[in-house]
């Protein structure tokens, strides 16, 4: 099941580089070409990141996690705490009622809170993945899937009851200083490029990671864990490491998301299991689990479809979304990349004998 091995032939490499350049140029130009939807585009990159980090677990490691949202949400909250707490009494700020104080930051304070916030978010994602990982990665298959689903809900409830971060009242994130349209554009651009940067970092890091021994090891675990263990691979360590890589990027991603969305709610924004928590799975599946371009393609298609449904099918958009989910899972379990591999194997760098061509469809 060799999926994401390095492209061996010259043509593929050149194509790859050109593609990256094209996508890269488009991505950098996009906020200037479509200034009205910069926020939407930032969220698109967030979707790309969550799809890729999910794919590390589901596609490469073979552990289908429904709880990756935990790291995302933790990142949002940790960053929020670091961005707010040093400058005002956090408890008062998030309290319901009269004591909810106002918060105006200077640019220095804002950035001085954001930067450590992002770092801390990465750290919390990493640490939580290790903490939960050693415990929960012992579960296999569907137990792991449902166990992580339960974990996601559980963590959401804990945060929903934590008064320090406002419990159910949520947190209003601090604003980039300056008022008016210009400042909002500035902020949108700042976060767009941060998201783009993170997405690029995630994709290239993961791409590199999958070419190393680490990548081979986790693929081995996916293919047959007991054999891998018998071969001497320290499966637990590799599994935890994979999850902590996901957690790392998800944490930062969450922190950025919280700032873009401005109002953080434990059950709807941060730990939105039935929402973002499931969409990350769908995007990866739609694009093609375990493939390199899969999550990106999946994210593009899913995000675009979702937005189209919202614009044109208002009132029934969610039913349509549910239908889309079912269709993806039932009819495209191998995803777009799987379909491409079946039809045009040469495109993904696979060499197929003429005699074996008929068996190429999986």
């Amino acid at each position: 099941m060799n999926r994401a091995g390095p492209m061996r032939n010259q043509g593929a490499s050149r194509r790859f580089v050109l593609l990256c350049l094209a996508v890269g140029l488009l991505s950098v130009a996009a906020p200037f070409l479509f200034p009205a939807i910069v926020k939407q585009l930032s969220i698109f990159w967030v979707m790309v990141i969550v799809a890729y980090t999910w794919d590390t677990m589901g596609g490469q490691l073979g552990y289908n996690s429904f709880g990756n949202i935990v790291f995302f949400g933790a990142g949002i909250y940790v960053s929020a705490i670091i961005q707010i707490a040093p400058f005002t009494n956090m408890r008062d700020y998030t309290a319901a009622g009269e004591e909810g104080a106002a918060l105006t930051l200077t640019m220095a304070q804002y950035l001085g809170g954001l930067a450590p916030g992002l770092v801390a978010a990465a750290a919390i994602g990493f640490v939580l993945a290790i903490a939960f990982g050693f415990v929960i990665l012992g579960l296999r298959g569907h137990y792991f899937a449902i166990g992580t689903l339960a974990l996601g809900i559980f963590v959401a409830q804990i945060f929903a009851n934590w008064e320090y971060v406002g419990a159910g009242s949520g947190i209003i994130m601090p604003e980039l200083p300056g008022r008016g349209r210009a400042s909002d554009q500035e902020k949108s651009l700042l976060f767009y490029f941060l998201c783009l940067l993170l997405a690029g970092a995630t994709i290239f890091f993961l791409r590199w990671l999958y070419t190393t021994r680490f990548g081979l090891a986790i693929n081995a675990i996916r293919d047959d864990e007991d054999k891998a263990e018998a071969m001497g691979i320290a499966t637990t360590l590799y599994k935890v490491a994979a999850w902590s890589v996901s957690g790392f990027f998800l944490g930062i991603c969450g922190a950025l998301y919280g700032n873009i969305v401005r109002f953080v709610d434990p059950e709807e924004t941060a730990f939105d299991g039935p929402g973002l928590g499931v969409w990350m799975v769908l995007m990866a599946v739609l694009g093609g689990k375990g493939s390199l371009w899969g999550p990106l393609i999946g994210a593009v298609l899913f995000h675009a479809t979702k937005e189209l449904l919202w614009t044109y099918l208002l009132g029934f958009q969610n039913i349509a979304l549910g239908l889309l989910v079912v269709i993806i899972v039932v009819f495209f379990p191998e995803g777009i990349m799987g379909w491409i591999r079946a039809r045009w194997p040469a495109l993904v760098g696979e060499r197929v004998d003429a005699s074996a061509q008929s068996q190429a469809a999986r």
């Binding site: 194509r15 050109l18 593609l19 094209a22 996508v23 488009l26 996009a30 479509f34 009205a36 939807i37 926020k39 939407q40 585009l41 309290a95 319901a96 009622g97 009269e98 004591e99 909810g100 104080a101 106002a102 918060l103 105006t104 409830q157 929903a160 009851n161 419990a167 159910g168 009242s169 949520g170 209003i172 604003e175 008022r179 008016g180 349209r181 400042s183 909002d184 969305v261 401005r262 109002f263 709610d265 059950e267 709807e268 924004t269 593009v300 675009a304 937005e307 189209l308 614009t311 208002l314 009132g315 969610n318 495109l347």
Partner: protein, 412 residues
């Protein structure tokens, strides 16, 4: 070949993005003043979102029928662009941006619920777009220094204040000290209910009352028996509950089921939960906070009296208006009045005109303080007596006397 295919995909994506980015309607004015609103047409707040929309629409219809709004000597009609926020804050915020950036709306009406208002207001503030809201009562909306937010409704801490005051009054009349009263709280874990709770705690503290139960109800609450059992064992004098319509319905039903005896039960959202219709006798004696009552004697030139509004609403929508609809209609009246006084569509001038509002509407008196909340309208307290809502507080508007204490279940 492959590059062409990929380029095609890329172009298609750009095209997709383009269709999403295309602005819906461009002009803000012409002969029509365009207002924008994100309301909950679906999701958990959809029932109240519908009432909000009904209120907005009824007011716009009425104003247009009466000749529109006169600004600088010219008459303009009103129109509202709606989007469905699905009862989710993130969605509401996104739609607010869309309304402001793409639809070029310059005047916003509020969504339903404090949570959604909380999610949207940072955006309207950023863009300096005035927002007059009628359904977000949480005080924390008004402590953040927002300059463009105005709320016609009474803020949440006032919801149950008169209930606590009445309890203290009755205690004194019975020869007990108000500080000897025990208060039990059960509040949903969302911005609005938690705010009401903060208000109740403040009031209780002022009288020196003791809080003996302080329960936080989860948002997907389906069963309150645990906390009601505790209330049953602890025997408080007052039980205050707020959990939107679901909390109200569940509370009435389970209090009857578990036969919890409390001398005073004070709740919010009884009318939107339709507790009388659903539970009949079990709902008797419950106290309900309301922003408005059709029996109040406020009046204005657009709708007439509160009773007139109620009749108009009932004729059009087939049921009596819950207060959510009334306050939403009032928000539109505030805009109309502000436009007329400002004599211009400049948002800064309009904002100042809004801040200087001093008017009486069928819904109540409206005067905004520096933070944007309405300080001129008191909350109303109903009690369910003989299958009807009777106003028992404030005394000026009371039509009945409070029946207290609530008799125990074996005597009912």
């Amino acid at each position: 070949m492959p590059i062409t295919r990929m380029t095609a995909v890329a172009l298609a994506s750009v095209g997709l993005i383009g269709t999403i980015a295309a602005p819906a309607s461009a002009k803000v004015e012409g002969d029509t003043i365009v207002l924008g609103a994100a309301v909950s047409k679906s999701g958990k707040y959809s029932t109240n979102g519908k009432y909000t929309m009904n209120g907005y629409n009824l007011a716009v219809e009425r104003l247009n029928a009466m000749g529109g709004v006169s600004v600088g000597g010219k008459a303009y009609k009103l129109k509202i662009i709606y989007y469905d926020d699905e009862s989710r804050g993130a969605r509401g915020a996104q739609l607010a941006e869309r309304l402001i950036n793409q639809d070029k709306v310059k005047f916003m009406l509020g969504p339903y619920s404090s949570g959604l208002t909380k999610a949207i207001v940072p955006i309207t503030e950023k863009y300096k777009i005035p927002m007059v809201e009628a359904n977000g009562a949480s005080r924390s909306l008004f402590t953040k220094g927002y300059k463009y937010l105005f709320a016609v409704l009474s803020t949440s801490e006032q919801y149950l204040a008169s209930a606590i005051a009445l309890a203290a009054e009755k205690a004194e009349a019975a020869g007990r000290k108000p500080s000897s009263l025990k208060v039990a709280l059960a509040f949903e874990n969302d911005p609005f209910s938690q705010d009401v709770r903060a208000g109740v705690i403040d009031d209780a503290k002022r009288f020196g009352m003791k809080i003996v139960v302080d329960g936080r109800l989860p948002r997907d609450l389906s069963d309150m028996k645990g906390i009601l059992q505790k209330v049953k064992l602890v025997k408080p004098d007052i039980l205050a509950i707020s959990g939107h319509a679901k909390g109200a319905a569940l509370a009435i039903r389970q209090i009857a089921a578990l036969r919890v005896n409390v001398p005073m039960l004070a709740m919010t959202h009884c009318d939107s939960a339709k507790v009388i219709k659903k539970f009949g006798k079990d709902a008797e004696f419950a106290l309900c906070a309301s922003q408005w009552a059709p029996t109040l004697s406020y009046k204005d030139k657009v709708f007439g009296s509160a009773g007139d509004f109620s009749k108009l609403y009932e004729d059009k929508f087939g049921e009596a208006p819950p207060y959510q609809a009334a306050e939403s209609a009032a928000a539109v009246l505030v805009y109309a009045d502000a436009f007329q006084r400002a004599g211009s569509f400049d948002t800064a001038k309009l904002r100042d005109a809004l801040a200087a509002t001093r008017m009486q509407t069928f819904y109540g008196n409206i005067k905004f303080d520096a933070a944007g909340k309405n300080t001129a309208k008191p909350m109303v307290l109903y009690q369910i007596q003989d299958g009807q809502y009777k106003v028992v507080a404030p005394t000026k508007w009371a039509s009945s006397k409070l029946r207290h204490p609530t008799p125990s279940w074996d005597k009912r």
